[in-house]
Amino acid sequence: MKEILELNLPQNVLYTKDHEWMDTTGNTMRIGINDYAQDQLGEIVYVELPQIGACLNKGDVFGTVESVKAVSEVFMPVSGEVIQVNTDLENAPELVSSSPYEKGWMIEIKASNPDEVKTMMDREAYLKFLEGIK
């Protein structure tokens, strides 16, 4: 498993305590799991995502990620409606491991309460949080 210094944690996304990332730069918000989460899970073999149109609250489970011997739920960083899911993951779940921020993205949402973004951490804050739990 990677040491904290080895983790790929881009500056341009925000993070949650459950190790999701969210890209808030566009009109819609793209969500996935970060490098730390995929490294902890090991080789990912299956990803289950919600239906397009699902309306979920901040903290709700929007999917599951499975490795060979572990299963992990993924949570909504903020409330919103699912407007896109990454269907490539159906046949290539390994993209979550090999490219967590690009090809391995999971869903795109339209946030219903953009203020909730403020509860997320930037890279520095997340790194500090990680050091605390490691």
């Binding site: 299956y46 499975e66 490795s67 060979v68 011997k69 572990a70 299963v71």
Partner: protein, 442 residues
């Protein structure tokens, strides 16, 4: 005691290595009031020879091979090839644990993969799991599975599903809010499905075929009656030998097939262990309960087998698992595999035909002597008869003559007074059958 290897010297040296004065010291953390005050009250150790004698005495209180039994109803007397107990005696199979370490468990893993394959073929389905406890637990698990998929709230269950299976389902479903609706039976001995179309929130329909009366159900018709997007058809069975001859449930539109595999080479053994078989369509794999073995390769690219999709299971998903089952009936699955391999595709057809023909011979023989055959639907190797009023006295007399003439049905269906379920398998020769017909009708 011959199962121990420790000499007093071994014990002394081990204690000294761990700086303990005595074995009792190792238990010193157990509070005094949690301890047993005296040794458990069970008999003193028995020698191997005394044990065998005691066990032989108890086994001797059971019917000897001189008896001719016509009992079926969920457990069936079939010939078991001599190679089965011989191969199962190989302790590499019997004394291994669940194959969690695939590199040293390829024997069990390949065998289970083969079992899954032959089971799918026999039942006409895409995928079978590695086994569940018994047919009743398989049915209960199949139901939970179907309701996970359809999210329906109602279950329609034929009254001709084995009564004991239905009882197990009602035990396991007691803590849930699902409604179980019983489907009555028609005069011909098959399930009345006319009520199905009125059910709004139906998640699953369960029909057994051949059913508890031995009659072959028209599963195709049930399948065509329901909307499979909302309602899954679960086909249940207790006599898989039938599928050597008749349409397997998979060919008739079943979504999930489950049942008891004891007939496939497993001794009756007073009802257990049995073999819970469960198979389904490919789309439902991730909702399946129980273990699955998959084919993959090793680091060198050699084909190999491994437990897979384990994330469905309790040891990983804990309270969110598809089932709580851990230990299942692996060795019984291997037994069934050995049986299916021994009879083969051509053999199982002959064997099934033989069961059917012998059963028909008795049915016709009894009919010719004036015994009423109440249900007209075709049967496989079991059928219901209605004897004359007060047959129970004759029943006792036949027991004295070492004939066990089937199962009285009134205990399960109070309306069927003097009705008996009779099972005829390949184990009886024509002379036995003639004697039976003669005795029950004289």
């Amino acid at each position: 005691m011959r199962y121990f290897s420790h000499t007093p010297e071994d014990i002394r040296s081990m204690l000294s290595a761990i700086h303990a004065g005595s074995i009792e010291d190792l238990f010193s953390l157990i509070p005094a009031n949690c301890r047993m005050k005296k040794n458990p009250d069970i008999p003193p150790p028995m020698s191997e020879w005394k044990l065998i004698r005691k066990m032989e005495e108890m086994a001797g209180d059971m019917p000897s091979s001189a008896y001719r039994s016509y009992l079926g109803a969920g457990r069936y007397e079939h010939h078991i090839p001599s190679i089965l107990p011989y191969l199962l005696g190989r302790s590499e199979f019997s004394t291994a644990y669940t194959p969690y370490q695939p590199e040293i468990s390829q024997g069990t893993l390949q065998a289970i993969y083969e079992y899954q394959t032959l089971t799918s073929r026999l039942l006409g389905m895409d995928v079978a799991n590695a086994s569940l406890y018994d047919g009743a637990s398989a049915l209960s698990e199949a139901l939970f599975m179907a309701l996970r998929i359809t999210k329906g709230k109602q279950i329609a269950m034929s009254k001709l599903v084995h009564p004991f299976f239905r009882e197990v389902v009602s035990t396991c479903f007691a803590p849930t809010s699902f409604e179980i609706i019983e489907l009555p039976f028609l005069d011909n001995g098959t399930t009345d499905i006319s009520k199905l179309k009125d059910m709004e929130d139906l998640g699953a329909v369960i029909v057994q075929s051949p059913n508890f009366f031995g009659c072959i159900e028209d599963l195709r018709k049930v399948s065509e009656t329901i909307d499979h997007q909302k309602t899954l058809l679960i086909a249940c069975f207790t006599e898989p030998i039938a599928f050597g001859l008749i349409h397997p449930p998979g060919d008739q539109g079943a979504d999930i097939v489950c049942g008891e595999g004891q007939s496939l080479g497993i001794p009756v053994s007073f009802g257990g262990p049995g073999l819970g078989m469960l198979a389904c369509k490919e789309a439902f794999i991730r909702n399946m309960p129980g273990r699955l073995v998959g084919r993959t390769t090793d680091l060198d690219g050699k084909p190999a087998f491994v437990l897979t999709l384990a994330t469905r299971e309790q040891h990983i998903r804990r309270e969110k698992a598809t089932s709580n089952i851990c230990t299942n009936s692996s060795l019984c699955a291997v037994t069934a595999l050995m049986f299916m391999a021994s009879v083969g595709g051509s053999g199982i057809r002959k064997l099934a035909q033989l069961n059917h023909d012998k059963s028909e011979y008795v049915k016709n023989g009894l009919k010719a002597k004036g015994v009423r055959i109440p249900f007209s639907a075709p049967t496989f190797n079991e059928f219901v008869v209605q004897f004359e009023n007060g047959f129970s006295k004759k029943y006792e007399k036949l027991l004295q003559e070492k004939i066990i003439p089937g199962l009285p049905l009134s205990e399960f269906y109070p309306e069927l007074k003097d009705h008996y379920l009779i099972c005829v398998t390949e184990t009886k020769g024509k002379a036995d059958l003639d004697h039976f017909i003669e005795k029950v009708t004289s």
